[in-house]
Symmetry: C2
Subunit: 137 residues, 2 copies
């Protein structure tokens, strides 16, 4: 008796999950290196993943190479789901940045996060995994 271990989420389900979560992980280039960091985010009305960041390696990396990947996931008993995005990051300025500031978000940091970055989604893949109980073999 076998189960299907991995199934694709519909684009509607993946979008719903993306809009329901607020914590994701951003992977970006920094020179020749790949880096990853947890980020707080929201989805704007254009379907972009919007986050704020301070000046630093994350912003520098995305400015030098806009190619990024983004991931959220959830585990519920014996099912896990993930949504993975590949896209391009760019800094929002002026009215666009102000509009993004109105999105409901839960800031992770008390400090100032000066720059608003939007990730335009080129590809979104949602998956559902069947988990097995812990095993040592």
């Amino acid at each position: 008796m076998t189960t299907t271990p991995v199934t694709d989420l519909s684009s509607t389900d993946a979008r719903e999950m993306l809009e329901r979560h607020e914590l994701g992980r951003l992977a970006f280039h920094l020179g020749d290196e790949v880096h990853i960091t947890p980020v707080n985010y929201a989805v704007d009305r254009y379907g972009r993943v919007v986050l704020r960041t301070a000046e630093g390696s994350k912003l520098l990396g995305m400015t030098m190479d806009a190619d990024v990947a983004f991931e959220i996931d959830e585990v519920d008993g014996f099912r896990a789901r993930s949504v993975v995005i590949r896209g391009r990051a760019h800094v929002l300025r002026g009215a666009e940045a102000e509009e993004a500031d109105l999105l409901p978000r839960r800031p992770w940091l008390e400090g100032m996060r000066e720059v608003v970055v939007a990730i335009t989604v080129d590809e979104m893949t949602g998956r559902s995994f069947t988990l097995r109980p812990p095993t040592s073999v």
Copy 2:
């Protein structure tokens, strides 16, 4: 009145968190692109992050460029913690692969995951974040 928004975890606390979790996110190069995927993992006695993968883009990417990043996180009320690793991935073979198979893991997939990959940790950073309540401004 201010709080410290971000503090570093001690290396002991970061290590403890890494050993307690089983689901992380792996960021890797695939040609000029950065990719990210959720992975089930365990920590071996050398302190490496060990995971299994099938043949595919993840393995291809890590074989072409061993530079990887890895992340875990947890949220507990108004505190969040993350551990981020930068390291190098390599495929384990023979006795090394067999030893890694004895590590307690919770396989995410029913199917075969043929190849054992170990990430040697070059840099590990644990952080604790103070969260704020949700806000729309």
